[in-house]
């Protein structure tokens, strides 16, 4: 696609509900990242994929957070048993490292509100 696409744009979940957020990266981009952005803060790293391999998940805040990218393209970030502190904007980015060029491009984000 022309850009990184995320869906849904907005999600309201009741506390305890499971949610799934989707990211469709730029075609041909092998690297995919998930970030969490709380209100008034900069994006915080969650996890990173190189093709289908999850190379870094050090930023996932708890075992309720799970991400996958089974075919090396579309990725899903799943949050189980959502809590109020999970309310944030979830951003997905992709890049196609070419030599030293690692420019990342972001999607519009999914705003999750847990009530």
């Amino acid at each position: 696609g022309a850009g990184v696409s995320q869906s849904p744009r907005y999600k309201v979940a009741k506390r305890g509900q499971d949610v799934a957020l989707r990211c469709d990266p730029i075609s041909g981009h092998v690297s995919l990242f998930w970030y969490q952005q709380a209100l008034g803060q900069g994006p915080e790293f969650l996890t990173y994929f190189q093709n289908e391999a999850q190379l870094d998940k050090s930023g996932l805040p708890s075992d309720r957070f799970f991400a996958e990218r089974p075919e090396g393209s579309v990725s899903t970030l799943k949050i189980q048993r959502t809590q109020q502190e999970d309310s944030a904007v979830y951003l997905c980015a992709s890049s196609r490292p070419s030599g030293a060029n690692t420019e990342a491009f972001f999607g519009q984000g999914t705003r999750l509100t847990v009530v």
Binding site: F33, Q37, G42, P43, L55, V89, E103, G109
Partner: protein
Amino acid sequence: GIQVEQSPPDLILQEGANSTLRCNFSDSVNNLQWFHQNPWGQLINLFYIPSGTKQNGRLSATTVATERYSLLYISSSQTTDSGVYFCAVHRSTLGRLYFGRGTQLTVWP
């Protein structure tokens, strides 16, 4: 990880004014990006600038990697420039970006 500090945290300007935003980072980096986050939350790529100077219209950026800082210049600011400006760095050719906390820019007509 790398610490990224941006200044000032807030900036209020009259339309037409010029401004300079600064980004300091605590360790050597492979790459640096500047983003503008619009009111709808989208991060728009402004510059990919591991070193040197680049210009794009009214915006320009300079990175001095050896001294671990980057500057973003906005000239003749417009109300549409309002939003949050983020600096983010890569430590290696693979892996995550480290973000600063941003500069909130408000431009009044």
